[in-house]
Symmetry: C2
């Protein structure tokens, strides 16, 4: 009996687009999304999980697809008033978004785990997919710069990725446990495919892989593991992936991504614009248009990735 | 050298109206408002000070005078989203109002005192008056009912004052210290007048009087202490004052208010509609229209109270 469960690993915006495509083309409850929490931080006394929230909003159809982050129909009264009170406003929190942060913070303080809270919030948002934070333990991405190590949101939002990145560290990852459901999703239920979404490999996927047990589960799982390129035409569509690769001395080419996931993935989805570098990649390839401007694009790419997985599954020996 | 400082004791809505009148007719920095914090509570993980916030909003010209509480131009996205997440919505928090609660909670958690935070917020809101919470220590009004003791906001908001009140208790008051500035305002700076605003004597003023040192300061201060009636035509204009008096077996008449403040006040402002019971009150009286529907009403009543204080001051022996 073959499973139809599909597991996606992702960060925020870009990865969530493919997660939405998968959610729409798969049976409603067939998808598990394991989400990066290395970006999580405490701000204004609230626990904020930017990537998890982006996935929730995206799957619930609540995401602001024009702005690219946050909720649709958002209002900003909180921020406006906070500014008049002398509060910190560099990290913008919409009024509706705040409800999630306040509720999460309250429930965490009451002793619930992040994964329990997220599962319950997903239920309230009528999301049939499983949305699972990578860990219930705190893992914090720290960005090394020539001026010293800084917190991720300081780098990403306050300083708009301006500092040169010299290193990346996932503080707490060494002793973090995968959230309940993570290892089960990767192994126990024998997924039909595991898909590494086109998220930033360094900032969004590496924190997930740094949680003990995840990397081993990917290596040993029976299902094909497929990464979808975050580079299009030798560039990241959005965000600092290209800048970071250059700063870390990694050639800005899809082959570097394949190398980065070496030993973990069984197939790679290359953007058609990078067809010229296909010969440099020694792994089953699917060449596709990976730019997901529309909802149709997301569904089409998701279906192509699933078809690619099915083809690889036919070839992959059971471990 | 006589001081021109005036001290007002008040709770929320009704009291804040007179505080605003005083603020407008006095020199900008001449007013100190000592505010009830017995209504304060923690909700959704946030520290909320309803009466202090009402006074801040009122003095800053930000209060919603139509609805009677909260901020003008408020939005409600947070509440709407919170409802979709299964959060508690019985206590309504506007998006702009939330900024105050989040900021206060964050700063309290950082070790600042409530009075320091409120003074700083008042400065940001460009309020020249001193707004001082009665205490930096937690004092919680508990309402005795036939079904047992309940928290104040449970009684006041969730149950809309429906339970019969059998007793009132100010938990923590016995060991609370007056906030810095409270005793100084009442004694040290030798105020020109102390005014007990037309707030609920049982719910809004008694908690302030229960803080050790406050009652004694009122008794011994050189300035005339004047209470403004919260009853008009033998009824409370708004809120549960009348209902509570009846439930506690106290005759619903201004004389009961005078009796309640016995030994503390030097004069009483009676509403013109209650002129008929004036003979039952053995204290200097000012008969006035105490209904403050408009801003003009507030200024007029404030000026009348100040004039009454001036007249009493001429008579009161220095203690």
């Amino acid at each position: 009996m073959s499973s139809h469960r599909v597991v996606a690993l992702c960060g925020g915006i870009g990865g969530a687009k493919l997660a939405l495509g998968l959610y729409r083309v798969l049976p409603a409850d067939a998808l598990t999304v394991i989400v990066n929490t290395g970006d999580d931080f405490e701000h204004l006394g609230l626990r904020i999980s930017p990537d998890v929230d982006t996935v929730l909003y995206t799957l619930a159809g609540l995401a602001d697809t024009e702005v690219g982050w946050g909720r649709r129909h958002e209002t900003w009264t909180f921020m406006q008033v906070l500014a008049t009170l002398g509060g910190e406003t560099w990290f913008r929190l919409g009024d509706g978004d705040l409800a999630l942060h306040v509720e999460r913070t309250r429930r965490l303080a009451g002793g619930e785990t992040l994964s329990t809270i997220i599962a319950d919030l997903a239920r309230h948002l009528e999301i049939a997919a499983q949305v699972v934070p990578m860990s219930d333990d705190v893992v914090s991405t720290r960005v090394g710069t020539p001026q010293g190590e800084i917190e991720f949101q300081d780098y990403f939002v306050r300083q708009r990725c301006a500092p040169r990145v010299t290193s990346l560290r996932f503080a707490g990852a060494g002793s973090a446990r995968p959230a309940p459901g993570v290892v089960a999703a990767l192994q126990g239920h024998a997924p039909a495919a595991i898909i590494i979404c086109p998220s930033n490999p360094y900032l969004s996927i590496d924190p997930i892989l740094a949680v003990p047990g995840v990397r081993g589960s990917l290596r040993s799982c029976a299902a094909p593991v497929i990464a979808v390129t975050p580079l299009v035409g030798g560039q990241a569509i959005k965000g600092p992936t290209g800048k970071i690769m250059t700063e870390l001395g990694v050639p800005l080419t899809p082959a570097s991504i394949v190398e980065h996931y070496s030993g973990l993935i069984d197939g790679f989805v290359l953007d058609a614009r990078d067809r010229g570098v296909a010969s440099a990649i020694d792994l089953p390839l699917k060449v596709s248009d990976t730019v997901m401007a529309t909802l149709d694009d997301r569904e089409r790419l998701a279906q192509e990735v699933l078809d690619f997985a099915a083809a690889l599954r036919a070839r992959k020996p059971r471990s």
